[in-house]
């Protein structure tokens, strides 16, 4: 079994080798326009990663406590009295194994899906630009291989993140996935119509994430100064040690020899544990409780960035500008769950900081509710899913904040299945719509609406007959998301609600309301998109996607149905699995009333949506029934004016401050007033005094005089250089006379 663990570096080598292949041979893998070489290679490598993940899972059966596989020393620096020793070591335990399986598994399916999807997407772009012949082929070849290069890079980076054994290495992965996200959101930065928006979206994602990264970095530095290490196991061991002993005594403790006194810490001396003084470098000394609270809050800031929580969630809806497989893989299934993974990983620290835990839970629940309500009033099929993702991430964050790590990870996994499914199906819908649009345009029946948007649900309707497979898998995904038993979403969401009901009633109430909205907006979407009559020619001519795309959908649909098996009540297989690596994992027993309430809420919401959208389908040109709520709908449709709020609170003041500093302070005050008026005028005044009588008279005269003297004498002296040997000889003779004369007068006489 042990030998299997040695294979772990391959999980990263495969995707990164895909990057190398893509960079150097990507174009050559595509001999003709319809070949799928780059996609195939990338998918195979992703699949290989998944195989490794499975092997790790098998190997872990025998060693559930996990192992660490060192690969290389990254850095070894002595900082003050601490040694910063950061190896690149793979951490394989039950938690990272789950993440590996989800990331590599869902990643592989989406890779396969993208093989077909990107062919169509790039053809669409080529049509938009009017490329033909070689130009079109070259463009396609370039972009197709580029996409899969980025995709593989993302997969590798994400696996770096989840397999890291220390905070800094995790941060490397964290930044790398952020980079990939940026690259892929702006993949169509040169789109003739939406290029600027796409690149702006990528920029927004990157910049907003910087704020979160700032929190992460602060947290990592504090961790290092507090615990003298950034390796997960050692940090946690020392953190627990410090509850009982002094910082000094604990700095040498490492995992395995940890002093397990947490029970005492929690119940024994109630006040003592978190009062251990902690020296933070030269900054000063604070108590352990305070520093851990600060660390965990900073980590939370990082998580709100990457996992799109209040207040940093605004980038995720715009991130939908990327191609749909990107939305599915990065912005729904994997990258955005990094925050949840990170908090789960740091569960020991959160257990020591109850305030932070509550903050995490509140942030998550609030995000879940806010995003859930916004989703209700969106028209773009992907935007609805984006807000839904934010909302579901809020569920997970709330769960881990309350200590329900198992529930959080459980939901993370099931959500990865059905949200990936929904996004990919949405992609399939968009594909079909575009196809229908072209068909309609070609045959000249009114398909030339300039405002046509293949993603706008108002242009859809009645797709269930045209795209049967997509429709069915979409409905399965929606029901799973809505939490209808016995689909995957029901079990995981129920567990979160259960944890919430036991720990924090406020969070429970917020999440329940969110669950209601979840079911409602999914119902609204399904009815608007698939039922009723086609509202446009495009929708009327939509066609089902190719098997290359639908096969992953069916697999994901199956996973969405069966995902609940991971952690069925009573079995708690996931809980038992995770308890090896998550010290503070706990599960509550199944509570029928909670389950019943949530199911009931879901069904009511679906029923309501049927009343509004299903019973009497929205016709073309007809306003959304929710419009009748007037300002409420507008408020939700404009996303609670969140962007406007940021614009008013941050951007405008920032721009104003920048202009104030530049124009008023720097230019008007500093340049005009201080420089010109005070310094300049004073200088000129003095200059006038100095220049007229003193400078021109004395100094200038002297300087010019010297310059003229030098130059003049130079000109005069060169005249002595006549070129005649006789004159030169005369000069020598003259020199002799001078020398002898000097000597005679000075020394001989």
């Amino acid at each position: 079994m042990d030998s299997l663990f040695a294979l772990i570096p391959l999980i990263i080598v495969f995707p990164f080798s895909g990057v190398v292949i893509g960079v150097f041979f990507g174009r050559r893998l595509m001999p003709h326009k319809d070949s799928i070489g780059p996609g195939l290679v990338a998918s195979i490598l992703a699949g290989a990663s998944f195989v490794i993940a499975v092997l790790m899972f098998i190997a872990l059966q025998g060693h559930p406590e996990g192992v660490e596989v060192p690969l290389a020393t990254w850095m070894n620096i002595t900082a003050g009295d601490r040694v910063l020793d950061i190896p690149w070591t793979f951490k394989i335990d039950t938690l990272s194994s789950v993440m590996m399986l989800v990331v590599a598994g869902v990643g592989t399916l989406i890779h396969i899906y993208a093989i077909g999807y990107m062919q169509g997407d790039i053809d669409e772009q080529i049509a938009k630009r009017g490329f033909e012949g070689d130009e079109a082929f070259d463009f396609k070849r370039r972009r197709y291989s580029k996409f899969f290069t980025f995709f593989n890079l993302f997969l590798g980076s994400m696996l770096v993140l989840v397999t890291a054994n220390n905070y800094l290495m995790m941060f490397v992965g964290w930044e790398l996935v952020g980079l990939c996200s940026y690259l892929l959101i702006g993949f169509w930065f040169d789109d003739p119509v939406k290029g600027v928006y796409n690149s702006e979206s990528g920029k927004k994602a990157f910049i907003v994430n910087r704020i979160g990264d700032f929190g992460m970095l602060i947290a990592i530095m504090l961790i290092f100064w507090t615990f003298g290490t950034v390796q997960f196991d050692d940090v946690f061991a020392r953190a627990e040690c410090m509850q009982a002993e002094s910082q000094e005594a604990c700095l040498t403790v490492s995992a395995g020899e940890a002093v397990h006194e947490e029970a005492e810490g929690e119940h024994g001396e109630a006040a003592r544990p978190y009062l251990t003084p902690v020296a933070l470098g030269k900054i000063g000394t604070v108590t352990l409780g305070v520093v851990v609270t600060i660390i965990t809050l900073c980590l939370l800031l990082g998580a709100t960035g990457k996992s799109a929580q209040i207040p940093l969630f605004v980038w995720l809806p715009d991130a939908m500008a990327g191609p749909t497989p990107v939305s599915a893989l990065i912005h729904a299934a994997t990258m955005v769950t990094a925050g949840i993974y990170m908090i789960t990983r740091s569960n020991v620290l959160y257990a020591m900081a109850p305030i932070s835990g509550t903050a995490v839970a509140i942030v998550g629940a609030a995000t879940a509710l806010v995003a859930g309500t916004i989703a209700v009033a969106q028209f773009d099929i992907k935007r609805v899913l984006a807000y839904s993702t934010i909302s579901q991430l809020g569920f997970m964050i709330a769960a881990v904040g309350l200590g329900g790590y198992v529930a959080g990870i459980f939901h993370l996994a099931t959500h990865a299945f059905f949200k990936a499914l929904l996004f990919l199906s949405a992609g399939s819908v968009i594909h079909g719509m575009e196809h229908g649009h072209h068909h309609a345009a070609h045959h000249g029946h009114g398909g030339d609406d300039p405002d046509f948007d293949p993603q706008d649900m108002r242009y859809m309707g009645g797709l269930k007959d045209k795209m049967p497979i997509t429709t069915w898998v979409y409905i399965i995904g929606s029901l799973a998301l809505a939490g209808i038993p016995p689909l995957a979403g029901f079990w995981s969401k129920d567990e979160i609600l259960l944890d919430a009901s036991l720990n924090n009633q406020l969070v429970y109430v917020l999440l329940s309301i969110s669950a209601f909205f979840t079911a409602f907006y999914m119902g609204r979407q399904v009815f608007m998109v698939f039922f009723g009559r086609a509202r446009t020619e495009a929708a009327d001519h939509a066609v089902e996607s190719k098997p290359m795309m639908t096969t992953p959908l069916i697999i994901l649909a199956a996973l969405s149905v069966l995902g609940g098996l991971l952690n069925l009540p009573g079995l708690h297989s996931l809980a038992h699995w995770l308890e090896h690596s998550v010290a503070h994992a706990h599960t509550a027993e199944f509570n029928i009333s909670i389950a019943a309430i949530s199911t009931l809420l879901g069904l009511i919401a679906i029923g309501l949506s049927w009343l509004l959208y299903g019973r009497k389908p929205v016709e073309a040109g007809q306003a959304d029934p929710l419009r009748s709520t007037g300002p409420v709908f507008t408020f939700l449709n404009r996303k609670w004016y969140w962007d406007e709020l940021y614009d008013t609170v941050f951007i405008k003041p920032y721009v104003w401050l920048g202009e104030f500093l530049a124009v008023t302070i720097d230019w008007k005050f500093w340049h005009d007033f201080v420089h010109d008026r005070i310094i300049g005028d004073a200088f000129r005044g003095w200059g006038a005094i100095l220049s007229q009588p003193i400078d021109q008279g004395v100094v200038d005269g002297a300087v010019n005089g010297i310059a003229q003297l030098v130059d003049g004498s130079s000109q005069e002296l060169r005249k002595t250089q006549t070129g005649y040997v006789r004159n030169y000889a005369l000069a020598v003779a003259l020199g002799v006379v001078l020398v002898l004369g000097f000597l005679a007068f000075r020394f001989l006489m």
Partner: protein, 496 residues
């Protein structure tokens, strides 16, 4: 009769110069059988011989461990000073050959004699640095000068080259006459030509002193001509301009160093008794030289002429160091400063002439300052190297020139206690350094600020020479300490 013995001849001690002369004689014969157009064989063989001499020199240096010995019955002194200078001569000769390798065929004057004459004059310089007898000094001077006269006219049938050779020869002979007269007077005053003898006689006192003093003055005139000190400098610009550029480069460094080698040995070793007199004279000459060299250089439009005046000016700086050596207790520091300055000047000036070579055209034009316009754009590396050399000649950091000047002025100020002449010379030196910045920096400005299309021919040998000199200039500027330590250990000694 007291016949010399193997021991008193001490061939091993003078092995480097024997290698140079012996090999050159062999090479003279070999060259006869090298077909024209293949004369670079002679060049490489010459470099080989020089390397052999360098090895012998290194062995000698390690072997001697600072001890000084005599050879040829006291006619030659092999001490640290002479070893250091011989190293400079060999280096200069190697670079001089490298500079000429591409130049000669390009100007259609490729003749093997060039390298042979160069080696002969190098040998003369090496003997000069060791000469312990006035007769040997004169012999060495002629051995040094005559090949140089011929080399100056090497670009035959170019008229300006022949004219330069003629001028150099006539004036050189004229100056040699003064030197011989000086030697004769010294002999008349002291009854000996051996430096040891002169030292002893002068130390004894009055009767012989006055004649020797006049003799000293005339010797000073003779060497003042060789090192191009004002007012014996008039030949310099014409000859430097007319001579083929590699010869100019070689001459501006080698001949000058050779002249200083003998001058320092005679004045400092043999005549400390009249140190006050020659110290003052040399200080005055130094001031005149620095002022005239630097001031007139400003008016030059031809780069070779400008560098000629610049070399006059640099002779002035070295004369400051010589004058600072007038008291025996100050001499070691001043001498080491002077020879270190010679070393830095050798690298920098050879390099600068190398760049001039690269820009020069086949017909001998391309030597005007304007011809450097645009070099910064078309050949950035070459321009950067030229900038380095110009900065070094000015004495700016980070270059060898600064370090050299620093040591010279340090020695001068060190020795100026109670001697206002040296102090005055040092001050004039510092002021004229500032003036010199004007014409050196002008080159840099022309290279970078003016538009132009310089025609640059950069062949491998020249590239190697430039790289060598630039690197040495830079390294001596950044870490001068080890080499300066060598210079400090290179003591001028009186043995006999």
């Amino acid at each position: 009769m007291n016949l010399p013995t193997l021991e008193s001849i001490n061939l091993l001690a003078v092995l480097p110069v024997l290698i140079v002369f012996g090999w050159t004689l062999v090479l003279l014969v070999i060259d006869l059988f090298i077909p024209s157009g293949r004369k670079y064989w002679t060049a490489w063989l010459g470099i080989l011989g020089l390397l052999g001499a360098a090895v012998a020199l290194a062995v000698r240096f390690i072997d001697a461990r600072g001890a000084a010995v005599t050879a040829f019955d006291g006619m030659l002194t092999v001490d640290g000073f002479s070893l250091f200078l011989q190293a400079i001569f060999i280096l200069t000769a190697v670079i001089g050959i490298l500079l000429a390798l591409d130049f000669l065929p390009r100007h259609k004057i490729e003749r093997g004699e060039y390298y042979i004459l160069l080696l002969f004059t190098t040998g003369g310089m090496m003997i000069m640095s060791m000469a312990a007898d006035l007769i040997v000094v004169f012999l060495a001077l002629e051995l040094l000068s005559i090949p140089l006269y011929i080399l100056t006219g090497f670009a035959r049938p170019r008229a300006d080259s022949e004219e330069a050779a003629m001028k150099y020869f006539l004036l050189g002979a004229f100056a040699s006459g003064f030197l011989v007269f000086g030697i004769a007077l010294t002999y008349g005053g002291t009854g000996t030509t051996s430096l040891v003898g002169v030292f002893n006689q002068l130390a004894e006192g009055e009767p012989s002193r006055d004649l020797a003093l006049v003799g000293m003055a005339l010797i000073l005139v003779g060497f003042g001509f060789k090192v191009a000190a004002v007012p014996f400098h008039m030949w310099t610009p014409d000859v430097y301009q007319g001579a083929p550029t590699p010869v100019t480069a070689f001459m501006s460094v080698g001949a000058k160093a050779g002249g200083f080698a003998a001058l320092m040995r005679i004045l400092i070793v043999a005549m400390p008794a009249v140190g006050e007199a020659w110290g003052m004279l040399v200080a005055i000459l130094a001031m005149l030289t620095m002022i005239l060299g630097n001031v007139v250089a400003i008016a030059q439009r031809n780069i070779k002429r400008m560098l000629a005046y610049s070399s006059i000016a640099h002779a002035g700086y070295i004369l400051v160091a010589v004058s600072a050596a007038q008291r025996p207790e100050d001499a070691p520091l001043a001498v080491s400063a002077a020879i270190f300055y010679l070393l830095t000047y050798a690298f920098t000036n050879l390099g600068a002439f190398g760049v001039v070579l690269a820009v020069e055209r086949e017909d001998g034009s391309g030597n005007l300052l304007e011809d450097f316009a645009g070099l910064g754009r078309s050949k950035p590396v070459l321009a950067a190297i030229m900038t380095l050399f110009m900065l070094s000649l000015t004495g700016m950091p980070v270059s060898a020139g600064l370090v050299g000047k620093f040591f010279v002025f340090q020695a001068a100020i060190n020795a100026s206690v109670g001697n206002p002449w040296i102090l005055a010379a040092a001050i004039v030196g510092i002021v004229t350094s500032v003036i010199s910045a004007f014409y050196y920096i002008r080159i840099i400005l022309i290279m970078y600020m003016q538009e132009g299309e310089p025609q640059v021919v950069l062949k491998p040998a020249l590239t190697v020479a430039l790289a060598l000199t630039a690197l040495a200039t830079l390294i001596l500027g950044i870490i001068p300490a080890p080499v300066f330590q060598l210079a400090k250990d290179a003591l001028l000694t009186l043995v006999g």
